[in-house]
């Protein structure tokens, strides 16, 4: 973050903490650029750069109550960005390992939606992709999509905040999309 970005981000964050959506949107736009720059400098032009950006934004959103407005913004923000970058790298390695290690997932992903009847592909490939997700992501996605649980119910059951459930679901959907051979956002 340049000194100008730091000043601007601090001002915008103060507005965001007061519940003003315009400064909050501006802040997230600034942070998108900063995170993309930060991640690209460390990862290179990987296809999942936007995953790091989005997860950083989601974490900023969920963790914004921990920002102390009397302190500089950059150290708070970079701690989040760095940890989400490390998590994303670990997750990519894990998912890549599972994709390569599971021929059925590879086959389903390679076949694509036109390779089989729609029902065959959905049930089989999605089931296998769900099994490849980390346990918590799988639990949240299955709860929302299969068991018709509400975000609130899942949050209560898992001892998470509703925002954390949404974040986990978002990550689960993205991982499923990759496992099923969909385009990256």
């Amino acid at each position: 973050v340049t000194p100008d970005e730091e000043r601007r981000a601090t001002d915008l964050m103060r507005g965001a903490l007061q519940g003003e959506s315009a400064p909050y949107a501006d802040l997230l736009v600034v942070l998108t650029a900063v995170t993309r720059r930060f991640a690209r400098a460390r990862l290179g032009p990987v296809a999942w750069l936007d995953d790091v950006v989005q997860e950083t934004l989601l974490t900023v959103h969920v963790a914004r109550h921990t920002y102390d407005a009397s302190r500089p913004f950059a150290p708070w923000f970079y701690a989040i960005a760095r940890s989400r970058l490390v998590d994303a790298v670990r997750r990519e390695r894990r998912i890549s390992g599972r994709e390569l290690g599971d021929p059925a997932v590879m086959k389903a992903a390679a076949a694509g939606p036109s390779g089989h009847s729609r029902n065959d592909i959905d049930v089989e490939a999605i089931r296998r992709a769900l099994d490849a997700l980390p346990a918590r992501q799988r639990d949240v996605v299955e709860g929302l999509k299969y068991r018709d649980e509400s975000v609130r119910d899942i949050a209560a059951r898992l001892g998470l905040t509703e925002s954390a459930v949404k974040v986990t679901a978002h990550r689960g959907y993205r991982a499923l999309k990759r496992l099923l051979g969909g385009n990256r956002a």
Binding site: A63, H65, P75
Partner: protein, 216 residues
Amino acid sequence: VRTEELIVRLAAEAAPVRPLPSVASRVTAWIGVALPVVAAYLVLAGPRGDLAARAPALDFVLALALLLAVTILSARAALSFGVPDAARPAAVWVLPAAAGGVWAILLVARLASDGPVLAQLLDEPAHAACLVQIAAAAALPGVVLLAMVRRGAAVHGTPAGTFAALAALGAGALGAAIVCPIDNAAHQITWHLAPVGSLAVVGAIAGALWLDRLRG
């Protein structure tokens, strides 16, 4: 979801946010929980019979001071690790670690000066009551501190959990130091220091699994 759409969605959820209280005020609040628990432990177990005679002894006072430092500084470190901060001073974790380290070094030095180290440790009779009492006295303050850390946004769950456990166990060991009449170093190392160190590992595991609730 495209990033632009995510920004619109998150901005739409903007609402006044109640900031987390400062680390100092949360440490104070936690001491407000831990102190009565230690006091209750002292009342229930009763202080050692020779407390008045031991109180002026330098090694005794030093041990109490170090355990108090471990307790308070570890609580501060745990709560600090519960908030994202890439510029966190090293002193936040170095100071409680140093206080614990000095306590351990003093005990080991005393053990070495008392005679053959291994023989003393092997000859040390079982006093599991100290271990149980330390763990029991640490349980409630530990759970409360972990919950307080979790209210933040720990992006480093393992150190947060480790220091939360050390803070609670430090409080338990502080109580045990006033209750337990056995001063020899082998006993202190086996039944006071070792439980604090090994149970801190439980805190580290709990921290890694449970504190970073933002991790998918």
